[in-house]
Symmetry: C2
Subunit: 236 residues, 2 copies
Amino acid sequence: MNNAKNAVILTSGGLDSTTVLAIAREQGYRLHSLSFAYGQRHEFELTAARKVAAAMEVERHLVLTIDMGQIGGSALTDEIAVPKARSLAAMEAEIPVTYVPARNTIFLSYALAWAEVLPACDIFIGVNAVDYSGYPDCRPEFIAAYEKMANLATKAGVTGKAPLKIHTPLMTLSKAEIIRRGVSLKVDYGMTHSCYDPDGAGLACGACDSCLLRHQGFVDAGVPDPTAYQAGVRFG
Amino acid sequence: MNNAKNAVILTSGGLDSTTVLAIAREQGYRLHSLSFAYGQRHEFELTAARKVAAAMEVERHLVLTIDMGQIGGSALTDEIAVPKARSLAAMEAEIPVTYVPARNTIFLSYALAWAEVLPACDIFIGVNAVDYSGYPDCRPEFIAAYEKMANLATKAGVTGKAPLKIHTPLMTLSKAEIIRRGVSLKVDYGMTHSCYDPDGAGLACGACDSCLLRHQGFVDAGVPDPTAYQAGVRFG
């Protein structure tokens, strides 16, 4: 593995970014996974990200604390009720409770900083233009513009000797396709966390937007859902 | 002032960003100044940024803590000697001790987040392509690419209703021209801090790269240097 190229992979402990990590591993990269503590209401995501990083045998897993609370604009750290049992249309009509202003821009900027130090020319991010189509910073145009900017931000990029590439292997996949890809790469999705509103033991509520999209993905993929739900959770 | 447009101004407590703040004030913006605590070896920069913000009567001054230490690559938090009494050529041949990987990219990303929340369509940054020409992320091409990316990252930018603009009023000015501009706007540069290696009272060393460039700027501008230097500092 010493000849492997370094890659920085943005990971959240969720289903999508865990699949991305497995894809980068399959491609032979030396893995550097990067997660953020930004005042999440619970720690289960970060715990899942650490477990996943260990299971994937990453070279290094970093958790950076980012200080969004003062800027405001995110419901994540506030006491706003998590919407439950919404339709897909209702989800798409609103900004999700997990929204952090300029989130992907900030996350990618730290990934760029780490890539510059390692060095690495490859950054992976699990953005997806299918399931959450309302998000400007999940679209291919945004990623292309970010990549261009990043290559003007660093000496290696400017000289063209080591151009930076942002990989978005999930961009055009449905949730079911993401799950099937992960299963083919032997991802243990039982290790991942997606729920916005887990109980004290980290069990998923089965009713928030994230749980509903995730469960439907398993149904559509024809894969048993390995998620640990709270007692009494039933799906339609 | 209630009809004034919001602007986010990146400030460090130094000479350049203080001048930028004065320029944004002159242009009638409602000022929101943003500084970063990223493990600087001393607190005088942040103290200066707070003083300057108060003097300029900003609407709000934010200091965000950013967690660069784990990523590494910056000499700022390490115990590396600050070079002294170097020639301009020697300064330009090396990466300065204050270098933070992907610094302007990260700083601008937080400014973008704050701009999205306020909302604001105007971000000011004191980059300059003249004095430190070796820096990719101080060039007009970088700023233009950042602005394009930022407008793809946010809904307001995508719809074209409120395009974001990144202002770089110092881009083509020499240090002397910056100082003359600031003096015309009644900036009190005695309030600003530039030294990389101040003593315990915050007095400037007069010998680090930053002190030398700053002092030469005052000399070239024909403006008395108001910097409080340590006892015994003499300039050639």
